[in-house]
Subunit: 243 residues, 3 copies
């Protein structure tokens, strides 16, 4: 699966919906046992949630958008397939969540590429299931510091912290991802899937149990004038940087 | 305590029953404050659960066998004694569980010896309390990957992952185990025991609360024709390898 | 904030009460967004709970003392401010708890300074919320071993285990602490505070829910003749060491 939504693969409502439908199709395709997720856009894996979806829209829109974010994560983190992230560019916020939700993370060995849940930098808070996914990968201490600081970790640091499993030169990334996939697919599917479910069920169940509440929280939070202001300022900063 | 059930110290119903009774006796013996667990069989610590107990037997037998596995773990993981594993050989699956359940793990520094919960390789799934014990030692991320891949980690890798605490040359293993035991026994028993209980109670309680359900799950799982077939194939592979 | 209660900054009822009031004042002072905690006493950060408060006193006194210990931790671990511990001396037991409760720990790079929850060495048991705080910093495995052995880790080992985040030469400690503080204060307060709450709420709530029970347990425990004897012996040992 290659993300191709230039310029930065931002997770818009449309992008998320297509991604979830794509995952569902593969999940139901018995011939497909694994998926490698990477980007067709140079230097960016995914820039995370599309801020324009959170800015100056209706309450209904916010709700629909957030449900799509949840849906994508529930499908990806709970996938029966082997999921490998070949992170070939920077991967902040929601982009990092996608990588964290895979079974294995390989990143291009380029210190200019960074990854992390940097929501706090934008004045917003990663939701509890982003946090749970993060803690399951790097442990409580590293997650606590990284989330509070909204850190974006350059690739070498990301590997040291356990945020990604392996670094390889960019030109070898897909070759390595295929090799990892072959290793994981060598296991009998049924036992591997039950094991994965056992490891991830508690965290998945927690969102399922609090899904509507989580949507309401998001709407309330994002509708605040102070948050709208932060997001507008952030978008303007991005625009200036571009030009 | 020396495991001596050639050829591979597999955990048969008889072996488990004797082990549990042995632990109970030591536990009730006020003169005994600690136990070192090792193997009298060269190159093997324990090969794990005896597959012949899970293959072609009655439902009653499966139930009795599984209860004995639970009983052994409840006694060992919940022991008031200081428990040190001197892992002087390979230690897959149930053998690894025994090591994980001790307070401290020393392994012979021989890269040919490996240790891990490799159930997924056999097409079966480590039960939740194997998983809980594993997570308490190596954390969620390492446990998730290792359990899904059914990895057997060579001794140096096992140490890097935190699966064992220390590697020493094989000829110094017992000497080192005795030194570690002396260090742990220097603490006042009562405070040490209460601390151990505080750390392990949640995981022990979880099996106690779901014990009958866990036995039923095991019986249902192991009675499946597909699982029986996997186990038969695995046993034949072992026989061929031997001859 | 500088601890200045010679000879060893032990956490007496008076000290704890003043510390909690100090934290409360800073918390309510909108101009104060962060606090650096260090010691004005050479070679000692804090020696932990004052044993004289637990020895030969009334049941009422024990209850009042324990409530003050809880109060201090609830305020510090749950603080909305950025909290940095500049550990410029040894920091056993309750002193270690104070450091563990901060957002970031810097320690003087002096192998003679040690830190740890060494309660087991005194024949007593660290309460569950000391343990929860410790597990959140170093993970379950390291906490289990360290608590059972009542280990005091020299600074370099403390850093290796993740118990402190960074070591710096003693003369650079405050400079470094100020730099770390500046880095944390660069984040928008609201998002950082909500993130911190999300990470720590489960552990804070657990004490709040069991607070009275925890006080009763402490009173029962500390009133036992065997514990009183242990504490008296420990105090006499300290006195002899001094002279």
């Amino acid at each position: 699966m290659k993300f191709k939504s230039p310029p930065v693969n931002s997770l818009s409502l449309e992008f998320l919906t297509e991604f979830s439908i794509g995952l569902e199709k593969l999940e139901n395709n018995r011939a497909c046992r694994g998926v490698i997720i990477t980007s067709a856009v140079p230097k960016i894996f995914s820039s995370g949630l599309d801020i324009t979806e959170m800015c100056g829209k209706s309450v209904e829109h916010y709700g629909e958008f957030w449900r799509a974010v949840q849906e994508m994560w529930l499908r990806l983190y709970g996938s029966n397939m082997v999921t490998v992230a070949a992170v070939n560019g920077s991967s902040p916020a929601g982009g990092c969540l996608i990588a964290l939700s895979c079974d294995y993370r390989i990143m291009a060995e380029n210190p200019k590429f960074s990854i992390g849940l940097n929501e706090a930098q934008l004045g917003i808070v990663a939701p509890f299931w982003f946090k749970d996914t993060f803690v399951n990968v790097v442990g409580h201490r590293i997650a606590e510091r990284s989330l509070q600081l909204g850190s974006l970790h350059p690739a070498p640091e990301a590997q040291r912290l356990g945020l990604v499993d392996e670094l390889v030169p960019e030109e070898k990334l897909m070759e390595k991802a295929a090799a990892v996939m072959a290793q994981w697919l060598a296991l009998p599917d049924h036992a591997r899937q039950l094991t994965k479910t056992m490891m991830r069920k508690a965290v998945l169940d927690r969102l399922v149990a609090h899904r509507e509440e989580d949507i309401k929280n998001f709407i309330t939070f994002v509708s605040k004038e102070s948050i709208q202001k932060s997001l507008r300022m952030y978008m303007e900063m991005l625009k200036k940087r571009k030009s």
